[in-house]
């Protein structure tokens, strides 16, 4: 019988080969090989982390939240993390193979893979963020994902959950769980958006009432029929002030005290990401408030999340936009700044994007239309994206259809003026980064997350 250490060494060697062969960063392949040799590899390897594991999942914000949490923990811990959205079992196993000498794990986990990975990772803290409709052809209906989470949420870990999401707040929890949310009606929306996913009470099915709607179906909710309501908040943002695309000031209210924090990130969704990271750090138990705040204040954007890059011909801001709730927040954030913008909107329909592209019709491109100076649509469904923008009110005369991603980017940045804002689906982001990496202007994606 082959010893476990030899299997790990073989899988580790495969990662190096994959990189040298130019086949990517080995973010999934070594783990896949190792899991083939030993299905319990995740449990065996994660059990060696003396400080334990923190795992988190959500439809939107996983990568940014994990990076924020790492930014708080890294001064004191050597972390093992999965990168670049490699958040299935193979990606987590690859990360575990790759980090020698780590004492703690921080892993983002795919929503549908959590049911398998949570028992394997046995995290000390499990953070559950939000559930939005995403890739219906891959994940199925939202209810199915919620049902998977219901089966594992009250396991032997400290649960941290987004109280503002009625589906997440309704999950069973053991004692000691922490809830987070926003408590500032000043940044609430006037009404529940049309694309809101969860309008009905999880307990009794009646329509929920919102005292404040913050993002999608997230907010201060209550059910007038059965009396269930948003749980009280252990960690909250009690004052949120936006400074355009430059940053956001929030007042954190935590069990460790209050603290005003300036985050160099735009958008209310990043406030939710920050709250998730702070609440998980609180649940982990050994992180002072000052270090949480410092982690948020020095935080740089995660891979492709309002990330500024030089393209060789100009500047671009890469913005991952892969489902209605996430894309609508990107648009809300961009629309805060009324200056005319040059856009690239890249829509791919590969398996990791979801083959079904109907979701673009749940995105409020109408809000962005008045601020569009010009737009290049790109990706495997470039023309379809152009149709969407046309019906959103963008003048076809300022639109260009260019399926080739790098050519689309070059075309957009060749004009004078500010940066081109590049909204892309997941695989389009990877392809675009690949093109920029070959030009030597951005680091490869497996080093960037």
């Amino acid at each position: 019988m082959i010893p476990f250490s030899a299997k790990v060494a073989a899988a580790r060697a495969a990662a190096g080969l994959s990189r040298r062969a130019g086949a990517g960063g080995g973010t999934s392949l070594p783990g896949k090989l190792l899991l083939g040799m030993d299905p319990d590899a995740v449990t065996r390897l994660s059990g060696r982390l003396s400080g334990g594991v923190i795992a988190l999942s959500a439809t939107n914000g996983k990568t940014t939240t994990a990076k924020m949490l790492a930014s708080m923990l890294e001064p004191e811990h050597r972390l093992c993390r999965n990168r670049a959205g490699a958040n299935l079992a193979s990606g987590v196993a690859s990360a575990l193979i790759g980090c020698r000498g780590a004492d703690m794990g921080v892993f983002e986990v795919d929503e549908a893979a959590l049911e398998e990975l949570a028992p394997a990772l046995r995290p000390r803290v499990l953070g559950l963020g939000n559930l939005f409709r995403d890739q219906l052809d891959r994940y199925g209906e939202l209810e199915l994902v919620a049902a998977r989470w219901r089966r594992i949420s009250d396991g032997p870990w400290r649960l941290v959950r987004n109280a503002d999401d009625p589906l997440v707040a309704a999950l069973p929890a053991t004692a000691g769980s922490l809830s987070y949310g926003i408590d500032d009606p000043g940044v609430a929306l006037p009404e529940l958006p049309h694309a809101a996913d969860s309008k009905w009470c999880a307990a009794c099915g009646e329509r929920l009432h919102y005292d404040a709607v913050y993002l999608g179906h997230l907010g201060a909710w209550r059910c007038p029929a059965c009396g269930s309501a948003r749980p009280s908040l252990d960690v909250a943002a009690t004052s949120v002030v936006f400074d355009g695309l430059a940053g956001t000031d929030i007042t954190l209210s935590t069990p460790l005290g209050d603290r005003r924090v300036r985050m160099p990130l735009p958008g209310l969704y990043n406030v939710y990401n920050a709250l998730a990271a702070v609440a998980m750090a609180c649940a982990a138990g050994d992180v002072p408030l000052e270090r949480m705040a410092a982690g948020l204040e020095v935080f740089g954007p995660a891979f492709g999340r309002f990330e500024r890059v030089a393209t060789g011909g100009g500047e671009a801001v890469l913005v991952l936009s892969k489902n209605p709730a996430g894309a609508n927040e990107v648009i809300r954030t961009l629309a805060h700044d009324p200056a005319p913008k040059r856009l690239v909107v890249a829509l791919n329909d590969r398996i990791a994007d979801g083959r079904d592209v109907s979701w673009i019709w749940d995105v409020d491109f109408e809000l962005l239309a008045p601020a569009v100076e010009s737009v290049v649509t790109s990706g495997t469904r470039a023309a379809e994206m152009a149709v969407r923008l046309k019906y959103a009110g963008v003048d076809p005369d300022v639109m260009t259809v260019e399926p080739d991603l790098a050519a689309a980017l070059d075309f957009a940045v060749s004009a004078r003026g500010g940066p081109a804002y590049v909204l892309t689906t997941y695989t389009a982001m990877l392809e675009l980064r690949g093109a920029l990496t070959r030009r030597g202007v951005v680091p490869p994606y497996w080093e960037a997350a």
């Binding site: 052809d137 209810e143 329909d349 079904d356 019709w361 469904r381 023309a383 019906y391």
Partner: protein, 243 residues
Amino acid sequence: MTDLRVCHLYPEHLNIYADRGNIAVLRYRCERRGIAFAVAGCGPGDPLPEADLYYLGGGQDRDQVAIAGDLVARAADLRAAVAGGAAVLAVCGGYQLLGHGYRGHAGDDMPGTGLVDVVTEAGPSRMIGNIAIRCELDRGDPRTVVGFENHAGRTHLGEGVEPLGRVLHGHGNNGADGGEGVRAGRVLGTYIHGPLLPKNPWLADWLVRASLERRHGTVALDPLDDALEGEAHRVAERIAAAG
């Protein structure tokens, strides 16, 4: 002035595949031609508005169950509206409810309106993917419809009932008989979303014309520039053909 009145049935429940995109396309294509466009929502318990076109989208299982009874209670009103010349477009879950209903695996049956003679039963797996079909809504004018399908139901048409089209690529009603959707006069049902109308502007215009006939007779529609729509249609057909 020519005007089109649309009733969007259960917009809060049946909206899973960006169904508002279909409404947006109908609105745009009417307003560009100087045809006034009005849409009225109709939720459970609301009075049924008088309309030229009734629209039913698809929903999550739970939302479909929530409105099925309410819809069935309106069957006679809807039948009267259709007899009076109204058109109907029903997509995915709405299509299933337009027929005699849905037979689930265990206790999750749903009644239907019986407005069209089709019946749906739960299948062992979901039929998911890009789809293209061939239709001939007007004799001698064959066209294609492209989009996406994602359904567990297998729908079977009654004797002599006409499908919306024949499957070129994809699964269609049941994956077996080559038919997709249903067509009975001005009543259309289909599994195709994407949404249905943006990439199939000819079908949007067919629906506008069919709906206007009720109060305005035959209306000729000015042509619009559909270059982008045409390109999106071609790409979708190519992707569907590649499987």
